[in-house]
Amino acid sequence: MDRAPSGTASREATLADDRHPRKPGTVGLYLRLIGVSVRGQMQYRGTFLVMSFGQLLTHSLEPFAIWALFDRFGSLAVWTLPQVALLYGTVSVAFAFTDALARGFDLFGDQFIKTGNFDRILLRPRPLVPQVAGHEFTLFRVGRLLPGLVVLVWALWSLDIDWNAARVLLLALSLAGTFLFFYGLIILQATLAFWTTETLHIFNLLTYGGVETAQYPLAIYARDFRRFFTFVVPLGCVTYFPLVGVMGVADPLGSTAWMQFAAPLAGFAFFGASLLAWRTGVRHYTSTGS
């Protein structure tokens, strides 16, 4: 009997708290959503472990394939195995982060637009980007990150680089630029879903195809293909050009030192442009109903 009143009182207290909650900011909200997603995945620990192992296996066989080709042919034009490993490692590490953190945008068309779920998100008095981005944090991408990291460390160790502050900065710019470039690409893919109502899988060309492309030096590709991935889709700007600077070799494509520094900024600009496009998309959004 005497429990009921105290129970009611505490419930009222909670309700009062709910009426004036501490509002988390953009970053706080995002981190909280990621925490929820991680706790959710940890309920299915077996699935998480098997998925991570699958990723690990798949992405460990990729560097093996590259090694096998070098073993068979000796070299790739002027490039050596450690140099290609630097490209492979950088793009793998950066993309593993994008893949883990951009899942909400990746699924956006199918899971938010087609289903009408985006309406619910619009109704919440909170910023949209962290809500969509925090929809899912795919932890099992660690299976992609680890082999990438091993290859990257091996490359940096065997390249015998004459380290200085500029080269450290170039590597950091390349990693950050690549992460943002791919993130921007996935936001653009999500943005197009405002008009197409479905995820455009053709974008995988640029994301997964881009990862594949960036694993090898841009200089080995056909001229028009190179131009496309430099000026239209600035993938080469965030991977190849700064990393040639890190290697400290002469670029067969003739880039100069300042170009190698400026190039990865294209990744930052691309990310910013994709956010602007996203905003325009949100303004054009018409619900499909549920």
């Binding site: 192992f53 096998a68 590709y221």
Partner: protein, 272 residues
């Protein structure tokens, strides 16, 4: 007697024909991907210090056929069958007056073959005719060197679909124990890509690995038909290779059949 099995094939063809634009989009992705692979391999061939074990023209055929028949590979399970396990409708399947293994085999075969037929056509059109027409003759897919090679390729391609279905069936029967096949698929993807030759043509892998690569079952999922097509495996040597491919198919069917029989005995229906 074959009618129920042929009916599922017909139904699947009618279904995938509804998604023609998806097939075209898929072809574009495969073309792009093949282009990247070929540019990388061409650069490697250009810097070869010793004679590679395979002619570049054979590599071109290998890559394009790999892109065209990518859909046959046992990367995924039949989504309909997967759903039956999740929702418990697998109980109905057990009631049908047909052989369950044969019925699911026919379903899965139909799924793979119908999807791939629709998807390969635009890609083969571009690789065979458009590329030479725009002046990229060195990158184009050439017809097989002889009629005998062509016929042997057709048989080996059927063998590829049969083997791929048998492998998929083995994965599918594990659903009796696992419910969700996602984890298994994630593990198999990289392994099958490498061992079928889709990641790198198998003859280009290190020489010391070749004996092991020759005897493993997944070679029949790409390497065998693609090299028969280009004449890299001579038409006279093809019958032995095809026999090996069908032998492995029989092994996978046998294991899959046994696992399915065991699984039926202990099935717990999920949901209602």
């Amino acid at each position: 007697m074959l009618r129920p099995y042929l009916a599922v094939l017909g139904a699947r063809y009618r279904e995938v024909l509804q998604y023609r634009s998806a097939a075209v989009a898929n072809s574009v992705v495969q073309l792009f991907w093949g282009g990247i692979r070929l540019m990388v391999l061409a650069a490697f061939f250009a810097s070869a210090s010793t004679e590679p074990p395979m002619a570049f023209a054979a590599v071109v055929a290998y890559i394009w056929l790999g892109q065209a028949f990518f859909g046959l590979l046992p990367y995924s399970l039949d989504p309909d069958i997967q759903r039956k396990f999740l929702e418990g409708n697998v109980a109905w399947e057990l009631l049908r007056p047909v052989n369950l293994y044969a019925f699911w085999y026919a379903r899965t075969f139909a799924h793979r073959v119908a999807d791939t037929t629709i998807r390969m056509l635009p890609l083969l059109f571009v690789a065979l005719w458009v590329l030479p027409w725009v002046g990229l003759d060195a990158w184009a897919l050439k017809p097989p060197p002889s009629l005998a090679s062509g016929i042997a390729f057709a048989v080996a391609l059927f063998g590829m679909a049969a083997l791929a279905t048998a492998v998929t069936m083995l994965f599918q029967t594990t659903l009796f124990w696992l419910v969700s096949g996602r984890g298994l698929q994630a593990c198999m993807y990289g392994l099958i890509s490498l061992l079928s030759g889709l990641a790198v043509p198998l003859p280009l892998l290190p020489a010391w690995l070749q004996p092991a690569l020759y005897w493993q079952p997944f070679r029949g999922l790409g390497d065998t038909p693609f090299r028969i097509y280009s004449g890299d495996i001579a038409a006279s040597a093809a019958p032995v290779e095809i026999a090996l491919q069908f032998g492995w198919t029989a092994v996978f069917v046998g294991i899959g059949y046994a696992v399915l029989s065991r699984g039926r005995g202990r099935l717990v229906i999920q949901g209602g």
